[in-house]
């Protein structure tokens, strides 16, 4: 009798302890949520979406819009998981799977958490491109993403550290993912995610942060040119002992400029050049200096190209802020293997400038559709060479017509190249070039104009503006 009573006490005591343990370990989410203006709920999906509203799944453009579903046959815990069917690359509905999960309403206060965690498994071993949070398709201010996540066929816990939870006081971007079939020969697969939630783990170690990929990058600018600090990465050491790089929005960093009279930087890492001189933009994360920097060499006030005065009705514009431009495939085709030219285009007070650096040659293409310039009489472009013009330096302007078939090659393409040299070419002053079609005998037709090619670069810099045909 006595013994059985003791056993009863033991069991009661044990039960009480276990119950208290449960209470002290588990967050009582609904209670916390009622107190705050912004919900402090950490859960996103347990057996169903949690406090997400009815309209929260927003696929990326080009992705298969119905890749996501709730699977009540598969779960890590409870009765259901989220299922993601990554399509074959040639699926007409979308070549990959990707979306954001944006909670409805004002957003959540995530300041109590230090990680987004979930369990994941896939129908085969795959490497999934991106998992993250903080993207809301509104201002996307606090995106944090891990990349190239290796997923096996058994459930594995994934931890995405929150770079700085104090920033996330009203976050709507609960989750984001992008998964393609690049690593599976274009064939689709399925993966499942369960127990998706923000958590306070308390054992993630902050490591080194970097901007500009940890490099010391230099940009040449003018007054009022804006530059952007990017490639921001924060490294963490997970409780598993593994280093995890998190690719984050610049807004997680604290930026400073070595000379705010030359350039200032805002919270989002956008740098504005103010006067001639040099300023070094650096960042700290959690009070620790991030590696990498952005050095701004501001050359002073930019001299704009002459403002075009012709009427829009007389112009077919390829690149100009003065006109509506026709559809352009690209302003730099990065034609391999011989091209060295890199585009570092910039904008000064709303005037966009094509900035070709390491310039040897570059092609602009506007083939969809091609341009019928039969009614036009001239080609125009403005060039600026900030460096010296070397003796013998040429600039060749090539206008290309794709011929009746309207596509590159096929034997009907024609072109004409016009060469300019000094003294037409001058340094540090805009050079306006006008070429009449009557002086382009190599061009059999101008009904299907599709490319303009600039050649003759010596690896230096060339700005281009106001590229158009006119009559």
């Amino acid at each position: 009798m006595k013994n059985s009573k003791m056993n009863f006490l033991v069991k009661t005591f044990l039960f009480g302890l276990v119950f208290m343990t449960f209470l002290s370990c588990e967050r009582d989410l609904s209670d916390e949520a009622t107190d705050a203006t912004f919900s402090k709920t950490g859960a996103i999906f347990l057996d169903a979406p949690v406090e997400m509203g009815s309209d929260f799944y927003f696929p990326y453009g080009g992705s298969k819009p119905n890749a996501w579903s709730v699977d009540d046959q598969v779960s890590y815990k409870g009765s259901a998981s989220m299922r993601f069917d990554v399509p074959n690359a040639n699926d007409p509905e979308g070549s990959y799977a990707g979306a954001i999960f944006r909670t409805e309403g004002a957003g959540r206060n995530l300041t109590d958490y230090d990680a987004l965690t979930f369990y994941v498994k896939a129908s085969q071993g795959v490497v999934i491109g991106e998992f993250g949070f903080g993207e809301d398709f509104i201002d996307n201010k606090y995106i944090a993403t891990i990349r190239n996540v290796s997923i096996g066929t058994n459930w594995t816990k994934i931890i995405i550290p929150i770079p700085d939870a104090s920033k996330l006081v009203k976050e709507r971007g609960m989750f984001r993912y992008a998964a393609g079939s690049q690593g599976t020969n274009g064939f689709g697969y399925t993966f499942w995610i369960d127990e998706l939630k923000f958590e306070k783990l308390g054992n993630i170690l902050n490591g080194q942060a970097s901007i500009m990929n940890g490099q010391n990058v230099t940009q040449n600018t003018f007054v009022n040119v804006t530059s952007t600090v990017d490639n921001v990465v924060v490294n963490f050491n997970l409780p598993t002992g593994i280093n995890q790089a998190v690719f984050v929005s610049p807004a997680y960093m604290n930026f400073s400029s070595s000379d705010t009279t030359v350039a200032t930087v805002n919270d989002a890492g956008v740098v504005t050049s103010l006067s001639a001189g040099t300023a070094v933009i650096t960042a700290t994360f959690n009070g620790v200096q991030a590696t990498g920097s952005l050095t701004i060499n501001c050359a002073g006030t930019f001299v704009n190209a002459p403002v075009p005065t012709r009427n829009q009705a007389n112009v077919i514009s390829i690149f100009s802020d003065a006109y509506s431009n026709v559809p352009v495939n690209y302003y730099n085709g990065y034609w391999q293997p011989w091209q060295t030219t890199v585009s570092n285009d910039f904008s000064v007070n709303g005037d966009n400038i094509l900035n070709y650096t390491i310039f040897n040659f570059v092609g602009i293409e506007f083939s969809s559709p091609t341009v019928n310039a039969t009614n036009m009489t001239h080609f125009h472009a403005d060039f600026f060479f900030p460096g010296p013009i070397a003796p013998g330096r040429q600039l060749r302007v090539i206008v290309v017509d794709f011929g009746p078939n309207g596509v590159f090659s096929g034997g009907d393409d024609t072109r004409h190249s016009t060469t300019f040299t000094a003294p037409t070419l001058v340094s540090n002053s805009w050079v306006s070039i006008d070429i009449p079609f009557s002086a382009m005998p190599g061009l059999a037709s101008r009904q299907n104009l599709a490319q303009i090619i600039f050649e003759g670069g010596d690896g230096s810099i060339m700005y281009v503006d106001n590229v158009y045909f006119y009559n």
Binding site: N3, M6, N7, V10, F13, L14, L17, V18, M20, T21, S24, C25, L201, G202, N203, L205, N237, P239, T240, G241, I242, N243
Partner: protein
């Protein structure tokens, strides 16, 4: 019958208390009973470790100190120094006399040997895979009877690849290496490589209790070991940080060097 029930009650109680403590830090468990301080090494004098207490082990031992460890132990200040109230043992990645890493190991053999007591150290562990710091003890009769007959008490061993766990172990005749009597302790929150924790044993005749901070996690008595109980005799202390070897595996490209094991103090109570 009554006795069995009592011991059942006791074991259930201890188990429950450990569970409870894991979640709630403010509840205290009776971890220690020995409170009279009889020895303290506070590492207060800058320079080399006190030569009246510590010996250096130099070199690579036999077969990497028996574990294929990859470091060369030196007595250079780059590897071991007392500074700012701390002993710092620093592992470096450098080519040194045929080894790829350097580090340090000190023992109190022949200088401070102790039988029974509460022996603890406050340590902050290094960060990174392949690092294997330890605070441990060997039987003072090792030169007469050799290992494992002399016995070994590992107060704390830690692997940099698992920053939230550590383990305490005893080795003896018939229970050594992979057959040793060992137990892990995993933090519910926090890590061992970014803050100090206190690692200790309370040791008396026929028992050794292992604790971390306020948590008792391992108790070993003669009935737990499948061989002779060799712990009723004096032991000396060892502090070291190994790099690589059979247990931790090699450092990888994620392991940043140098890495330091910080020891705030060693204290012995009766």
């Amino acid at each position: 019958m009554k006795i069995i029930n009592k011991s059942l009650f006791k074991s259930v109680f201890i188990l429950s208390t450990v569970l409870f403590l894991g979640c709630s830090e403010d509840e205290k468990q009776t971890v220690i009973t020995k409170t009279r301080l009889v020895m303290q090494e506070e590492f207060d004098v800058n320079g080399a470790p006190n030569p009246e207490l510590w010996n250096f082990d130099i070199g690579t031992g036999n077969n990497g100190w028996g574990n294929n460890e990859q470091q060369f132990y030196t007595d250079r200040p780059e590897n071991i120094i007392v500074e700012g109230g701390m002993l710092k043992i620093t592992a470096r990645r450098e080519l040194y006399l045929g080894s790829s890493f350097t580090s340090a190991r000190i023992t109190s053999k022949g200088k401070y040997e102790k039988k029974y007591g509460r022996i603890e150290a406050r340590i902050k562990m290094p960060l990174g895979r392949g690092l294997w710091p330890a605070f441990w003890m060997l039987g003072a009769n090792i030169d007469e009877v050799s290992w494992p007959q002399c016995g070994e008490i590992d107060i704390v061993e830690y692997l940099g690849s698992n920053p939230i766990s550590m383990f305490g172990t005893v080795h003896g005749p018939g229970y050594f290496g992979g057959e040793s009597i060992s137990k892990n302790y995993t933090l519910k929150t926090g890590r061992f490589d970014n803050e100090f924790h206190v690692y200790g044993i309370e040791w008396g005749e026929n028992y050794i209790n292992f604790y971390v901070d306020d948590a008792l996690y391992h108790r070993v008595t003669p009935s737990d070991v499948p061989g002779e109980w060799v712990f009723n005799q004096p032991y000396f202390m060892i502090l070291n940080m190994a790099v690589g070897g059979n247990l931790p595996g090699s450092p990888n490209d994620q392991t940043a060097f140098p890495q330091t094991m910080w020891v705030d103090y060693i204290r012995v109570y009766e």
